[in-house]
């Protein structure tokens, strides 16, 4: 079920980016499985009531990977899938960084390091009100260079925000080079543990592993949860995987055809 949603996310994302001649397809493919499992199996949300008070909140902090989330929201019925065809048009609500004017999107991002503090604020407010809604934030690895994240990590651990789960899309590629060659994050899980979070590391493309980890939060009932998801940038398209240039490039017609063929369903799937 979530495998099919992930496949549709990839197909939509590729088509949207190719049509719009937009960037960041590698980042979107990297999180397609995470987003599919979240929307397919984890998040308590209602497409007919995007503002339902008891919903779980999902924050995409790496807003440049928005096509994956737009595709998931459309596939889940938050808005018509035809909207996806407008991606990249000047009057489209689907901006090229995730936009809160789109039904189902909680928060606009685009500048990195904003999602986790905002998510912590939501978690704190829900906690203060005694609400059981959970907050999930999806961050990139390169984004962790921003100090604001570490401020939020301190705060969330100090206040025991166990209704907050952060997921790191750890594909080890950032804007110009690998994470290791830019600002080394290793040992990343140890850093989060030292900051007082409950930490798990998984294969971020394994739906079973994602489902098992995310359906069990909060893992110890008292700490915020950090899921380090090891991923491959450009996952699912052979010639995009682990290639920094696909942070920027949009596939041409032939490349799109090949990329869609690799999804095992074709463009009309």
């Amino acid at each position: 079920m979530t495998q099919d949603l992930a496949r549709r996310i990839r197909i939509n994302a590729l088509s949207m980016v190719a049509r719009a001649r937009a960037s960041h397809i590698g980042s979107a493919l990297s999180i397609a499985d995470i987003v599919a499992v979240l929307y397919g199996d984890i998040l308590r949300v209602d497409p007919r009531r995007p503002d339902w008070a008891e919903r779980d909140r999902f924050i995409l902090s790496k807003g440049h990977a928005c096509v994956a989330v737009y595709a998931a929201l459309a596939e889940q019925g938050f808005f018509p899938t035809e909207w996806l065809d407008t991606y990249g048009a000047v009057d489209s609500p689907l901006l090229n960084h995730v936009s809160h004017t789109v039904p189902g999107v909680e928060f606009s991002t685009g500048s990195l390091g904003h999602g986790l503090p905002f998510a912590a604020g939501k978690a704190l407010a829900l906690w203060t009100r005694g609400q059981t809604s959970r907050v999930f934030a999806l961050l990139s690895d390169g984004e962790l260079d921003e100090g604001s994240n570490w401020e939020a990590l301190l705060f969330a651990a100090h206040h025991g925000l166990s209704n907050l789960t952060a997921i790191i899309d750890f594909n080890n590629l950032q804007s110009l080079d690998t994470v290791d060659n830019t600002l080394r994050l290793a040992p990343l899980a140890d850093k989060f543990a030292a900051f007082g979070w409950a930490v798990r590391e998984i294969d971020g493309h394994s739906h079973d592993a994602l489902r098992e980890a995310l359906s069990a939060v909060p893992w110890d009932g008292k700490r915020p949860c950090m899921l380090v998801a090891h991923t491959v940038k450009g996952k699912g398209v052979s010639f995009m995987e682990n290639k920094v240039e696909w942070h920027y490039r949009a596939p041409d017609a032939a490349q799109l055809e090949q990329a869609l063929a690799e999804q095992g369903g074709g463009a009309d799937a």
Binding site: P117, G121, A125, R129, F155
Partner: protein
């Protein structure tokens, strides 16, 4: 004025359960009454202003009205993008409260001189600036913001400012609040923030015999320039007073409003010069 602000915030928080106070590890001997009365609505974010503003935005997105309190430039310049993107763009009820507007913390040095904060905060199109001139204006501004929740910047002086108004005045964005009315006045002085006391003293000591009216404007911002033309039209000359640089300041804001409306009123400005804050003279 700090004490009036906290006292009013406590009073309002009794009635409004969504009022939250977050401090950036500052507010010693000021915020304790709130913290004691509303311990589950008071948070110290630590020395971490970016997170403080992100937290505030997140809480506001869940229906809270969050007051984020710190000193001088810390809750503004240090986290300007958090205010721009998270608060102003999303139109959230976050009120950044900065103590030490202008040179209130003069001896603490340039780091503590809030002399460019209007210039920054008035750039945000959905943000209202509150710069009260006395403790009663502070109460009035706070009540206005709670009744009209929106992105806002609350600039306080330090402490010890005496009351000028006889009672809590009625305030509205862009509205000039009359302090002195003289018969036949063709010119006016208009201050924002704690410069009210300076304009009042100057007014009393002035040697010119010409009648002059005195006003304060505690609520203003990018969204209320349109309301200035009619008020300017009453005078041939208006002099603005502020404890802020000319560039980006209150006087410049009024000049922009006047220019946009084609107002013929002559505007003069009193302001702080950079050499008054940089610790050296050119």
């Amino acid at each position: 004025m700090r004490d009036a602000f906290i006292d009013e915030l406590c009073r309002q928080a009794e009635q409004r359960s969504n009022v939250i106070l977050i401090v950036g590890d500052l507010g010693y001997s000021v915020v304790e009454p709130f913290a004691a009365r509303f311990p589950d609505r008071f948070f110290n974010a630590g020395v971490a202003e970016q997170n403080m503003l992100g937290l505030a935005a997140g809480m506001a997105s869940e229906g809270c009205h969050v007051f984020a309190y710190s000193i001088a430039n810390f809750p503004t310049f240090r986290c300007a993008e958090q205010f721009r993107n998270d608060v102003d763009y999303h139109q959230l009820a976050v009120t950044v409260v900065a103590v030490g507007g202008g040179l209130a913390y003069g001896n603490l040095g340039y780091s503590h001189h809030a002399v460019q904060d209007f210039g920054l905060m008035r750039l945000f199109p959905q943000t209202l600036i509150a710069a009260p001139g006395d403790p009663l204006e502070a109460r009035a501004c706070l009540r206005y913001l709670l009744d009209h929740p929106q992105p806002s910047y609350f600039r306080l002086g330090k402490a010890g400012e005496v009351a000028v108004h006889p009672e809590v005045p009625s305030v509205a964005p862009g509205q000039w609040l009359q302090v002195v009315a003289e018969r036949g006045a063709a010119s006016a002085r208009l201050s924002t923030g704690t410069m009210l006391h300076r304009t009042l003293a100057s007014h009393r000591e002035r040697d010119t015999p010409l009648p002059e009216d005195l006003f304060t404007m505690p609520l203003w911002g990018a969204g209320c320039k349109d309301s200035q033309a009619a008020q300017l039209a009453r005078y041939g000359c208006v002099e603005t007073w502020e404890d802020h640089y000319l560039d980006g300041g209150f006087g410049s804001w009024l000049r922009e409003a006047a220019a946009l409306s084609g107002s013929p009123t002559r505007i003069r400005s009193r302001f702080l010069r950079p050499d008054q804050t940089l610790g050296h003279t050119a």
